[in-house]
Symmetry: C2
């Protein structure tokens, strides 16, 4: 039933029925959470082996993982990431348990020191930053917190609207960079096409030190058939902009969230500069955690098998539930649109304009916590009040079925309310 | 034999004999390292239990240590530090594996955001920083790297020269803070007296946002009888300067260097501000590492017993060797002075003026690496070229005996060379 074609009377009738369904959910005393991309406890149980002590406290190269060493240790861990992601081990620096922290620190360094001789950004009148949206709230929070002006760029199924990006960066030297989640982008699951990657690498930017923060958070987190991604570091180098991109990744959603190993990759010049700064900042990352990780998953094939297990047993069943519910309950209603992601942790639903906040509020009333409406946009303000992020990884299958049924009722109820306003 | 009283002929004779001893060491093919405060592998073996998986992946309060949670987790870990150090759990924030990183980040925040409403330091013409010296090279490196002007303040056996500190901070608003290692200070082992702590807390500073970085790195690292330390947070609060001090500590030299748990403690206002910044920077510290640590050492008494074991079996025998060698070989020679530390990881030796670099070079020639001469002063420049840091923790007892014999010969040889210059 396409609600957009209904007349006022039919809408009133539909409203009554939807209200009845909603009231029923309210009597169920639900307390469910689809707000955050947290793995379920059952999914973490699949990672139990990462708790084991490393088979040896020394690395194959003879570094004692227990003791102080140097910033760049362990070389084997850099090689591990390189093999997994198709990068060069020489491009990689290792971090602690949080790639977000590496991104934040990269930006702090740009503020305090500039990049390869450029003026430190803290000395500039204004720094602007491109935020493909909907996007990741914690990315936007970092750049907002650091005082940048956030510029919304619409997402397409192939990445940011590159016509707009190219026009903006060519014309404004205050635009210093862009957030990118190139694979299974939070929250829609969009994957950057080869053309998008090439254009990001090649485009002319008014700012000489324009920087792409390339957060490949879901680089091996396929839920269905894997989607391929072009190598941005290589593309930038080919285009003569080798120093444009910082690449981030972590094992948070391979081993344990909050206890994984993070990394960044960059050009030789950027890496030399980062090492010079980071050597002063810290004595180096936790090597025992690196040894634990590599002992359980020695090769990329082992990682692939582990990720397939997570997908087969945990994530794909949940994605299936979400996508089937959306199709069954909202398909053809005219009240919602979505992309079917092939991986990552999220599904994003676009309601009718002006209905996202109301939908999330309704779900909350019935006991299901969703990501706050607007969270996927800069300053937490969705100009169309339309985008809602669904995070299906944490609830059990049964909980998720219930939560999705409720969610779809809320989308419809909010949509019908909106349509009735238009009839009044 | 007091070399200072010898005439030229006697000095020449002494030189010949010392040169003979030195040449003998050179034939031994030594390859020893007393440069860095690294625990020995045998000392780390005493910490083997920290490698074990935590008995439960959940905290007593029910937080899943494997999953994402919040910046302030785990509360039990904050309580653990509070009980160990006599702090309030509410004053503590937890970090990753590096307290140095927490200090660096604190200074970056002061540069980018200021403190409780003060002007961000990156907007100021100049920031100056007090460096009690000899001190910790990595502290000095952080403030130098961030562009501060480093001001050397002499150390006394009771802490920094407080007459000078008070005069400097009262008269110059560009002086924004001071490094302090209050217990068994690197490298001399000086311990701050109650009076020093009280004066640091109470002194009037021209800069309203003057900040003490209080790195209590060796807070429970007693080698002989424990030395007590006044509570700086309480002293500052009593003096009406609650927001003056940031307090740091880590378990790097309790569990494993590079794989410990770090923390900082501060006033309620400072903590609120730090939480607001750090919540944007990271999702939170590695809780599994916290659980592993607390499982092995649940109470302060367990920590005390563990540190006593480290001291009894590892550190005190090494300190004894160093101090006995110094006394036996250099006592009464007039060529060297030192303080006998009661804890920590270092002994500092002051040679005759102008002899430190030569002494370290001689030791290096014979195959013993010492901390670089000058490293214990700002800009790596010891104005008297006199201070040498001895780090006895890493070598075996036998290696340390040999290295100290050589070291004392080098001190004497360099000293006699210098005295002969004076006779020329």
């Amino acid at each position: 039933m396409n609600y957009l074609t209904l007349d006022r009377e039919a809408l009133l009738q539909a409203h009554t029925e939807l209200q009845r369904q909603f009231d029923h959910f309210c009597t169920m005393g639900l307390s469910l959470n689809m707000a955050r991309g947290k793995p379920s406890p059952e999914q973490l149980d699949l990672s139990a082996a990462f708790l084991n002590p490393p088979p040896s406290v020394c690395s194959p190269g003879g570094v004692d993982g227990r003791n102080y060493s140097v910033l760049e240790d362990l070389p084997e861990m850099r090689r591990w990431f390189a093999d997994l992601l198709g990068l060069s081990a020489e491009s990689i620096l290792l971090g602690g348990n949080s790639s977000l922290n590496l991104m934040y620190d990269s930006l702090c360094r740009l503020l305090l020191f500039g990049k390869l001789g450029s003026t430190p950004w803290c000395r500039l009148e204004k720094v602007k930053w491109l935020c493909p949206s909907p996007g990741y709230d914690r990315h936007f929070a970092v750049t907002e917190h650091l005082g940048f002006e956030l510029i919304t760029v619409p997402m397409t199924p192939e990445g940011p609207d590159m016509d707009l990006v190219e026009r903006l960066v060519a014309g404004d030297a205050a635009i210093k960079g862009i957030w990118c989640v190139p694979l299974y982008a939070n929250p829609q699951g969009a994957c950057y096409s080869d053309e998008t990657v090439e254009r990001l690498a090649a485009m002319e930017t008014a700012a000489e030190d324009f920087t792409i923060l390339w957060d490949n958070a879901y680089g091996v987190h396929h839920v269905y058939e894997p989607v391929a991604l072009l190598d941005i570091l290589e593309a930038c180098a080919r285009a003569g902009h080798a120093d444009r991109v910082f690449y981030y990744f972590s094992t948070s959603k391979i081993s344990f969230p909050g206890a994984g190993v993070s990394m960044m990759a960059m050009s030789p010049a950027n890496r030399r500069e980062a090492v010079a700064h980071m050597t002063v900042q810290t004595i180096g990352p936790d090597k025992l955690n690196q040894l634990r990780l590599m002992a359980v998953l020695p090769t990329p094939a082992d990682v692939e098998a582990h990720m397939k297990l997570q997908a087969d047993r945990m994530l794909r069943p949940r994605f299936d539930i979400v996508l089937e519910a959306l199709e069954r309950e909202l398909g053809g209603t005219g009240l919602a649109e979505w992309i079917s992601p092939r991986g990552g942790y999220f599904v994003a639903v676009d309601t009718l304009e002006g209905c996202a906040a109301r939908t999330v509020a309704l779900a909350g009333q019935a006991g299901v916590v969703m990501t706050g409406a607007g969270a996927t946009f800069p300053y937490k303000k969705d100009p169309r009040d339309s985008n809602i992020r669904v995070a299906p990884s944490y609830p059990t299958l049964e909980e998720l079925r219930t939560a999705m049924s409720l969610f779809c009722v809320c989308v419809k109820l909010a949509g019908v309310e909106k349509l009735l306003e238009g009839c009044a």
